[in-house]
């Protein structure tokens, strides 16, 4: 039932003792990184005598990570690093997280713990439909499943026909998938004349990387006749494996032996009483390569109170309710409006005003970017305008990794750039925001 009973079911006092001890040793390690040497050194760093004192430490933000590019957060000699993961995009510096061999091993173990918790065993066949590469979703689950001992099919995302072929031929029992893709895949299954509930050995899906509603999860379960479990992670902490649902499917256990979690008011940064919804702030307390203190995840959630019937003593967080910044998640890909704005500004022939619309069609997100043709550059031919449209589309694809629908409009069609123009319109059915 437990991957590691001792780690998963400690008494709260001993878990908190472990957290304090790991937090203090992380503080020490973090001091080796130039960024923390500056920020903590200035504020008179000392060992903390209680977990509550963590709120005296400054926050770390994504902007800090970008500004300290490339090595400002590296806390060990480079020779001890075996891998890096990084955000995509070329607007501004990417955020880079370094992993030592021990970091990778701890991460694998956490992901294996998550999978084992839901009932996955070495006899399972695991098909990983997430992107491999710099994105942590694919590799994180891959190594976790191998650690657990299940046969892993590193198929990556897309190509539904091939996904279905592998699932059938190898009797896939567990998949890791974007929630939207789980539903789209089922429509492809039906197009092939197959029944997702009867013609597969599938019994579980791990869904994450994009916000989704409880209704979507239930629909995935019903469509495939399986259990679907929510997964939460972020590359700054390691990747997937930060928090995960147990078979109770009532909130995600956040692995407090590795991460110190706080919920803060996104406006003031003040810690909120347990149970209130706010921004999740995480400190990685078991990592060496890039330890982060009080990282602002921008994800909105809350702690769920009370013990979990599964027996694990790690607290649970609610499904992610939204973001406290303007980050958009398009089919699992994280995109900031600023990336789009800066890309558009580099292209001549279009005006300064733009608008982003996120549509949903057949469980797939579609990014629409509306821009104006700059009248002074119009030469009068359709070919020129079509060429410009193609150029904008290619530039946005290169920057964001997502192929947008580019709508070219006449000058004056969009709200002017001054003031608080609404730049992003999300037309998807979103998880209800309770914060």
């Amino acid at each position: 039932m437990y991957w590691n009973k001792e780690s998963e079911t400690p008494q709260r006092e001993s878990l908190e003792r472990l957290q304090l001890q790991r937090l203090n040793s992380t503080l020490e390690k973090a001091m080796q990184a130039p960024f923390y040497r500056d920020s903590l050194g200035r504020n008179g760093f000392r060992r903390l005598s209680s977990l509550r004192e963590v709120s005296q430490l400054p926050f770390t933000t994504k902007a800090d990570l970008r500004n300290a590019f490339p090595y400002g957060f590296l806390a060990v000699p480079l020779e001890n690093i075996v891998r890096l993961h990084s955000s995509s995009g070329t607007t501004g510096n990417p955020t880079v997280i370094y992993h030592t061999r021990e970091d990778i091993e701890t991460w694998q173990d956490l992901v294996a713990r998550c999978m084992y918790m839901t009932g996955m065993r070495s006899t399972d066949v695991f098909q990983n439909m997430m992107g491999y590469g710099l994105f942590t979703g694919g590799l994180g689950f891959h190594y976790g499943a191998e650690k657990l001992g299940a046969m892993t099919i590193p198929i990556g995302p897309g190509n539904s026909r091939r996904q279905i072929w592998f699932m059938r031929e190898f009797g896939t029992t567990v998949i890791h998938v974007l929630p939207s893709y789980a539903l789209r895949l089922a429509t492809h299954v039906r197009e092939l004349g197959l029944d997702p509930r009867k013609d597969f050995k599938l019994r579980m899906a791990y869904v994450g990387a994009e916000p989704h509603t409880e209704e979507t999860r239930r629909r995935i379960e019903e469509t495939w006749g399986i259990k679907a479990y929510n997964s939460y992670g972020l590359s700054e902490m390691c990747g997937p494996g930060v928090a995960f649902e147990c078979t109770e499917q009532s909130g995600m256990h956040i692995w407090e032996d590795q991460f110190l979690a706080e919920i803060v008011d996104p406006e003031t940064g003040a810690n909120l009483p347990e149970g209130e919804c706010g921004e999740l702030v995480l400190s990685s307390i078991g990592r060496a390569g890039t330890p982060l203190l009080r990282f602002r995840t921008r994800d909105l959630t809350r702690f769920l109170s009370g013990p979990c019937p599964c027996g694990r003593t790690h607290r649970r967080i609610d499904r992610i309710q939204g973001r406290s910044d303007d980050m958009m998640i398009i089919n699992g890909v994280n995109i900031f409006p600023m990336q789009i704005e800066q890309t558009l500004m580099r292209i001549s022939g279009i005006g300064a005003n733009y608008q982003i619309e996120i549509h949903e069609d057949n469980y797939m997100d579609k990014l629409h970017v509306r821009v104006e043709l700059a009248p002074e550059t119009f030469a009068g031919t359709l070919g020129q305008v079509e060429g410009l449209q193609g150029k904008v589309c290619a530039a946005l694809k290169e920057e964001t990794g997502v192929t947008p629908v580019v709508k070219l409009l006449e000058a004056g069609s969009l709200p002017a750039a001054e003031g608080k123009a609404v730049r992003v319109v999300d037309l998807r059915k979103q998880p209800r925001r309770e914060c």
Partner: protein, 142 residues
């Protein structure tokens, strides 16, 4: 040099009507209209009797519009005359980029409006052929 107007429009009901309204209000006479579209957006060509006035009026109304140079050929309104014109253009390697036409007197005369790739060259290479290019001053009076 003769010109028509080239206007960028998004494909939406009422867009063309706005163009003709602006031109009507200025008392401009539309001789011919043509449109090329991707389905999402298009470029409308309008031949009016005073392209500069049309350009100013449309710009005033925030249209994305430019003047583009044209050649206008006069042909007979009978079977085969368009073909004869194109044979000559092909023989002289004149590349047509845009083209539309309209009848002036039914059964007698029609005008064919061209945008061609290379302007003075195209004009020169058609001199001495059977193609009757209309003088600029006449075009707007058609």
């Amino acid at each position: 040099m003769a010109f028509h107007l080239s206007i960028f429009v998004v494909n939406e009901p009422g867009k063309l009507e706005k163009i003709t309204r602006v031109l009507t209000e200025k008392g401009l006479n539309i001789r011919a209209v043509s449109m090329a579209s991707t389905g999402e957006f298009g470029v409308v060509r309008v031949l009016v009797n005073d392209p500069d006035a049309g350009l100013a009026a449309l710009r005033e109304n925030r249209f994305t519009v430019v003047k583009r140079r044209i050649l206008v050929a006069l042909i007979e309104d009978r079977p085969g005359s368009m073909h004869e014109l194109l044979v000559t253009l092909a023989a002289r390697s004149v590349n047509v980029e845009d083209c539309y036409g309209f009848v002036i007197d039914e059964g007698k005369r029609a005008a064919i409006v061209f945008e061609v790739e290379k302007f003075p060259e195209a004009e020169r290479s058609l001199a001495g052929t059977s193609v009757r290019l209309i003088a600029d001053s006449e075009i707007y009076r058609l």
